[in-house]
């Protein structure tokens, strides 16, 4: 087990190296000059050249890359071109809304989607099952911002139950924080629920055909116990896997959702940074997202052992 975790942690290094190279090159090979953005519309070409010089953008690409990596290894993620702060400060400031959104969405989606999926599998072919299947197709195919605006229209504008957008820090006022999290989490979780409900249904359906389910019923157990104790736990591994993979969707969705609901999180920071060609910020946020993704999937692999005694690392 310890070996396994150590190996997986070591394996993060090459992943990050590839991501680092890729992001770095992408930013520099695509058109758009941060110096021009910073200098503004009325700048002369001399002013722009000065700024380029100051930001170190005149050096050869490989040299810029070397400096960046060297700094990262020393724990220095650079300074934002645009916000006049270190990237580390910037991220620390913006991490709370994104973390809150992601956790709310995850909890919301799992608590809703797993029971829905189990029930759909148990009542295979029923109206409920068909409704779930239809919902999951819809949930996948409707883009997040459409869902977001629909929810805002219904719950914030027409019904007036919840605020349209904005964010209040959790430490400041929990009640106002919570009511501002509902719509964004709902929006973000629709696709996630669709995904998890569907995989839960498929996975439970498969398990329900297993011999040990028949054994469980032959013991005189009630349907609920058979489903929850025997079927769901055996179906857990594929469900967990999909939840892990879905974290990527979550992070992509956070960018859109935060923009729609005006949450000052990492997603919106990414958008702002991309629009202003803020290279150090973009690079660091992307690296951070990759670390989170890899670590979460490692945690999920480890959690398999809790559900299935046959899996040992």
């Amino acid at each position: 087990m310890f070996d396994f975790i150590a190996r997986r942690l070591v394996a993060i290094v090459p992943v990050l190296a590839v991501v680092a190279v890729f992001v770095f090159l992408m930013l520099r090979l695509t058109p758009g000059d941060p110096a021009a953005v910073i200098a503004g519309d009325n700048a002369t070409s001399d002013q722009i050249a000065d700024i380029r010089e100051k930001l170190g953008l005149n050096q050869p690409i490989w040299q810029q890359f070397g400096i960046w990596i060297g700094n990262i290894l020393q724990g220095n993620f650079g300074e934002s071109f645009f916000f006049k702060k270190t990237v580390a400060e910037l991220i620390a400031q913006r991490v709370e809304p994104t973390l809150a959104l992601a956790l709310c969405t995850l909890v919301f989606a799992v608590c809703l989607a797993v029971p829905i999926g189990v029930l759909a599998a148990y009542r295979q072919g029923s109206v409920f099952d068909k409704a779930v299947m239809a919902f999951s197709v819809l949930g996948f195919s409707v883009p997040g911002f459409v869902i977001g605006y629909c929810l805002i229209y219904i719950f914030a504008i027409e019904l007036g139950w919840l605020p349209v957008q904005g964010y209040v820090r959790i430490g400041v006022d929990f009640g106002r924080f919570a009511e501002r999290m509902v719509l964004p989490s709902l929006t973000l979780s629709v696709g996630f629920i669709a995904l998890i409900a569907r995989i839960t249904r498929a996975s439970v359906l498969e398990v329900l055909n297993e011999d040990y389910i028949r054994t469980a019923r032959a013991k005189g157990l009630s349907n609920r116990v058979v489903l929850m104790r025997h079927a769901l736990r055996n179906a857990a591994v594929p469900i967990l896997t999909v939840i892990g993979l879905g974290i990527a969707i979550l992070m992509g969705g956070a960018v859109v959702t935060e923009s729609v609901f005006g949450l000052p999180g990492l997603g919106r920071l990414t958008v702002e940074a991309v629009l202003s060609r803020d290279f150090p910020t973009i690079q660091t946020v992307i690296l951070l997202f990759s670390v989170v993704y890899v670590v979460i999937n490692l945690l999920i692999d480890i959690s398999y052992t809790l559900f299935d005694p046959r899996i040992r690392y």
């Binding site: 032959a218 013991k219 104790r229």
Partner: protein, 536 residues
Amino acid sequence: MADKKPVLEVRNLTVALPGGADRANAVQKVSFTVNSGEIVCLVGESGSGKSVIAFTVMGLLAKALKPTGGEILLEGENVLAASEERLRELRCTRMSMIFQEPMTALNPVMSCGEQIDEVLRTHTNLDNATRKAKIIKILSRVKLPEPERIYASYPHQLSGGQRQRIMIAMALVLDPVLLIADEPTTALDVTTQAEILKLIAELQETEGTGVLFITHDFGVVAEIAHKVAVLRWGELVEMGPTEQILSRPVAGYTRMLISSVPSIHPVHRGVRLEGKTVLRTEKLGKTYSGKSFFQKARVVKAAIDVDLDIRRGETLGIVGESGSGKSTVARCIARLIDPSEGKVYLGDTEIATMSASRLRPHRRKVQIVFQDPYRSMNPRITIGESIIEGPMNFGLPRDEALARARKLMETVRLDPNALDRYPHQFSGGQRQRICIARALAMEPELLIADEAVSALDVSVQKQVLELMSELQSEFGLTYLLISHNLAVVRQMSTAVGVLHNGVLVEKGPTDAIFDNPQADYTRMLLDAVPDISRVA
């Protein structure tokens, strides 16, 4: 006993099949009784409705099947009329069931103790300590070693026989009056089967449990049954005391079934032919190792120093239990897997280490017929295409290959015009004939039959075996016959090799091995074979 109600009384039971099936009822007006302390065997071939009866009694029938008539009385209570809740109460307290496949019948993510405990928690109000004590007691009663350790083990840590013991413990922990055993030993090796049968007989004798035992195997019937009911196409053909049914069957079908059972007793195959050696292995070995970067590699020796030789026109039988390495040896000989050590001579050519490209022309010479006729043919191409694919690969023009296929279909007694049909349109026995035709289309020097008749009903098995014998005498074929069924090997082989844990413990002429076995393991195997003639 006369004043007591029978444990189970089935009266005129009819179970309807969904529309579009090959017959209207899965079970048609079947009646029988099981008294306490009695073992009643339901015998029949696949599709006879024997399992349907068992599942109807337990109330576990698939939704598509509906009991439409008759009654099932469990100590006088009609379970067909019982509510779902009442059925749940009865399960495991008054009637219990054990299943065919112990490998999959237990929940893999719960410990064995927990799974038995679930029965007690559902049906009793005993406290933790009492439940635990009760479970440990039943685990030792089903003769599991170290009950405490077994209690905490997960199913995958136990063998098939041990898992079946867990199932039996679970079924009997609340002393039910009826135990239904649905082919409980079919998936087990003969030695394990013998132990499980002994256990069931012992337990039911001491507890006075009534047992409804479902099997297709007359050997098992002879070992265990007090009464036998023979089923065919959902109808009861014949019923009576075991001795009477086995030695003086009245119905033609019963007689046919019993005569189809291959006997372990001698036939005249005896002499080994002094022919040319078709295939010879020298110190053949296969080692599987799970390589891992950090962990110590796990090494399994599936075959160790196996020396065999097969002469033209003879049948070499290889017997052994599961995990003995018999399939590994066959696959090494056919070079479906690469041997790790030793040599394989096909004629005079050594093929064990030959490169894939140089091996190709020799591929034709060894063909295999596999165990499961339902899975060994591509379901999406016609059987004609399956048969001609091989010869065409080796350069035979399509029309010649088709002509050969038509001829082969006649050889295996199938309609040559059926070549454009798909595998699912044939029965299991027909499919296995097609597989034989497919193998023969390559005009092999050696035909390997890897458990080729194990999945078939006895009557069909008999036909396929007869076909194989006829083909052998007609075309001088050479067979390597791999089977766990010693009777089949005895009937078919001129020479026999016995494999145990990858080692060839004994080999020689068939009669010598069966009549005068030298190795202890061979003797143990032979003793374990359930034998119909012990009663008859």
